[in-house]
């Protein structure tokens, strides 16, 4: 069996952070301690680094099946490993949509065949993501799906949401919502505010997100089902989630690295690299999001990695597809925006998202005998973002400087990233 020693990092163990080596044999951790025996082990230098559970992204678009020119499960898995992830939850807005068991199995099987990152398909709540009749929820559950969402359009019909929550509540899954009121967002392109007014672009008011979250939380109160707000973008949503948690509701939330990093003034140049839904919000919203990640009101980071081909984005802003990639820049962006310590970072990017997405093999603080799915983060490395492993490059961070990145990654004892290079 292969032996690996992660040498000299600050290790996030079940007993707290310790300066230690971590020895891995096969798929498991066999020892955490000072100066573990190295023998013939493959030694990975972790000095100055944080060693913790493999990162988990609860929100990615891998585009397979159906839009492989943007990304596929192989290229998306490589991008995930490059960003430090050992598990991703793949959104169901593929073509066809993941609304029945065999499509979910296809995605999971492709992920396993590629083998660089664990790919967990999310399933649709409604057939074809059309918001009407329920998808094949039992089939999806049997295929391993635990996160259910129509991501893209919000589940608009409160009655459908209620039935889905009741049905999935029995099984134990979580409903994740892209909160956007279609009427309020209308033909909106960017955050409604002084930038939209100056540019003559139609705006998406913060209320477009907040009315859906407020309504959904009332239905959570009615059903008791688990509910997760995807990509929170406004201060008002943060307050709604804070209140729901104070009331003991089973509600969780994620935020993207780009919503923590940029505000709507970036859009003044009408560069389509800054076009995404929800849109970049006001500076006050960004501040509120950063505080909410720091204090845990927002549980976790989800990148909403949304690849689009260069020619699709090389058009005027209004005609560009929405979405930006995020896997490879997530660690640097989050560290730059929020300045989390190592324990908080691994909580928001591994422990919490694994718990929310019900990924039982991920998100465990390190301990002897535990699974060797480990990410080593160098919080000090400085670099300019100048290219991507992903098939697409539609990133608002392109050309920017970031500090902090994943250095090594192990997936069940297998090295998938070594010194920031993906080992496929």
């Amino acid at each position: 069996m292969s032996e690996i020693v992660l040498a000299g990092g600050l290790v996030m163990t079940v007993d707290g952070p310790v300066e230690a080596d971590v020895k891995v044999v096969g798929e498991n951790i066999v020892e955490i301690g000072r100066k573990v025996g190295r023998g013939d082990a493959d030694v990975l230098d972790c000095s100055g680094c944080w060693v913790g559970p493999g990162l988990v992204d609860p929100h990615v678009h891998l585009r397979e099946p159906g839009q492989e020119w943007k990304e596929d499960i192989a290229s998306g898995s490589m991008a995930a490993a490059a960003g430090g992830f050992t598990a991703v939850v793949a959104m169901p807005n593929t073509e066809p949509a993941v609304d029945s068991g065999h499509i979910a199995r296809f995605v999971a099987d492709r992920g396993r065949a590629v083998g660089i990152v664990d790919v967990f398909p999310a399933g649709c709540v409604t057939a074809g993501r059309e918001g009407g009749r329920l998808a094949h929820l039992d089939e999806l559950w049997a295929a391993g799906v635990r996160v259910f969402t129509d991501d893209g359009p919000a589940l608009f019909d409160g009655g459908v949401l209620r039935r889905a929550m009741e049905y999935l509540g029995d099984l134990g899954g979580v409903i994740a919502q892209h909160a956007e009121d279609a009427g309020l967002s209308g033909a909106g392109q960017i955050h409604e505010g002084e930038v939209s007014a100056a540019l003559g672009l139609m705006g998406i008011p913060a209320a477009a997100e907040e009315v859906i979250v407020a309504r959904d939380l009332a239905v959570v109160r009615l059903t008791g089902a688990s509910y997760h707000v995807q990509h929170v973008s406004t201060e008002g949503t943060v307050e709604l989630v804070r209140g729901a948690k104070a009331d003991g509701l089973p509600a969780t939330a994620e935020v993207t690295p780009h919503h923590l990093s940029f505000d709507h003034r970036e859009v003044l140049g009408t560069d389509p690299a800054f076009k995404m839904y929800p849109p970049l919000r006001s500076p006050d919203d960004v501040k509120a999001l950063r505080r909410a990640v720091a204090d845990g009101t927002i549980d976790c980071i989800g990148t909403d990695h949304a690849p689009h081909a260069a020619h699709e984005k090389d058009v005027p802003f209004e005609e560009a597809p929405r979405g930006v990639i995020g896997l490879e820049t997530a660690v640097g962006a989050v560290l730059g925006a929020v300045g989390l310590g190592p324990e908080e970072l691994f909580d928001r990017m591994s422990v919490a998202p694994a718990r929310i997405a019900r990924l039982s093999d991920h998100g465990h603080l390190l301990e002897r005998g535990g699974p060797a799915s480990i990410t080593v983060i160098d919080p000090h490395v400085e670099y300019v973002v100048d290219g991507f492993v992903s098939r697409s490059a539609n990133s608002p961070f392109l050309g920017r400087s970031l500090t902090g990145a994943a250095r090594h990654v192990l997936l069940r004892g297998r090295i998938t990233l070594r010194d920031r290079k993906v080992e496929a």
Binding site: E194, P316, F317
Partner: protein, 305 residues
């Protein structure tokens, strides 16, 4: 000045020197043979990706008065219907020998994007609800020639400001030239935020009638489905239409302007549209002169008199 895309890119003295240049072209256009050889051998291409008649014809007239050749791109009969991208289309037009592109497109920022894809000067002929900078120039020239100045005048811009590239351009140009601007519209037709705009805002046209020098009426965009932004056309007319009664309440030297095409009986009463103090056709005439000034400036022409 490499491109002419956004009034915000210009300083007051840039605007004034373009207006001065345009004054000279007004004089040339009044000659028996209204044509100069300034841009002989140059090719000006109008690439209009949304329907327009007056602006495109005005640019072509301006180019011809400067002896430039013109090419016209018409989307209805082009490769656009075969799915060609905007980028490929404009690069094709450049490769055919265009020395300057006039671009109109329904998307905000389109002209700016085009200027990044080509090496020739780009003139913005209108990008979504963002900018229509030659319209602002012609409006400013019309006002300046009427009053001898723009500084210190009070201009009310009335109507659908939210969706209007004309209003966004005029606000910047008029205020840069020293005018006072008041926006008059219901909340549903105002920009959602006007903080930081160099304007006052008023919900009643009647309140400002007696104190303005210029009433600038915007077109009610019927195709936008007015019913969702105001209750009905008669209600719009009753609050914001330039009726005969309101026209009579204007100061005697005040003028009425409109970018066209007009909806007679809606934003402007039939009789007002035909009154000598409605300068709508004067605006059209000034449009040719200011576009000559812009083309001349960007293509580095020389006036050999």
């Amino acid at each position: 000045m490499k491109h002419f895309i956004d009034i915000a890119d210009l300083e007051r003295h840039d605007l004034e020197s373009l207006l001065d240049e345009a004054d000279g072209f007004v004089e040339i256009l009044e000659r028996p043979i209204p044509k100069v050889p300034a841009l002989r051998g140059k090719t000006v291409t109008t690439a209009f990706f949304e329907p327009s008649t007056r602006t495109r014809l005005s640019f072509e007239r301006a180019a011809k008065a400067l002896s430039a050749d013109t090419m016209t791109f018409a989307p209805g009969t082009s490769s656009l219907s075969k799915g060609e991208s905007l980028k490929d289309t404009v690069q094709t037009l450049e490769a055919m020998g265009s020395d300057l592109l006039v671009v109109r497109h329904r998307a905000v920022g389109a002209a700016r994007r085009v200027s990044e894809w080509t090496s020739v000067p780009v003139v913005n002929g209108g990008d979504g609800a963002h900018q229509h900078p030659t319209q602002a120039l012609l409006d400013a020239l019309t006002i300046r020639r009427r009053f001898g100045k723009v500084e210190g005048l009070h201009v009310a811009i009335v109507g659908d400001i939210r969706h209007s590239r004309v209003a966004r351009s005029d606000v910047l140009a008029f205020s840069a030239l020293g005018a006072r601007v008041t926006l008059v519209a219901p909340r549903t037709l105002l920009p959602v935020v006007t903080d930081g705009w160099p304007v006052a805002v008023c919900a009643s046209l009647d309140e400002v009638l007696g104190e303005v020098d210029v009433v600038y009426l915007l077109r009610v965009q019927m195709e936008r489905g007015g019913a969702t932004v105001f209750p009905s056309l008669p209600e719009y007319v009753s609050r914001f239409g330039m009726t005969r009664q309101r026209f009579a309440a204007l100061r005697p030297e005040a003028i009425v302007m409109h970018p066209g095409p007009m909806n007679r009986g809606v934003e402007i009463a039939n009789e007002v549209a035909d009154d000598p103090r409605a300068l709508v056709l004067e605006q059209v005439a000034m449009g040719v002169a200011v576009r000559m000034a812009v083309l001349f400036r960007l293509l580095g022409g020389e006036l050999d008199e």
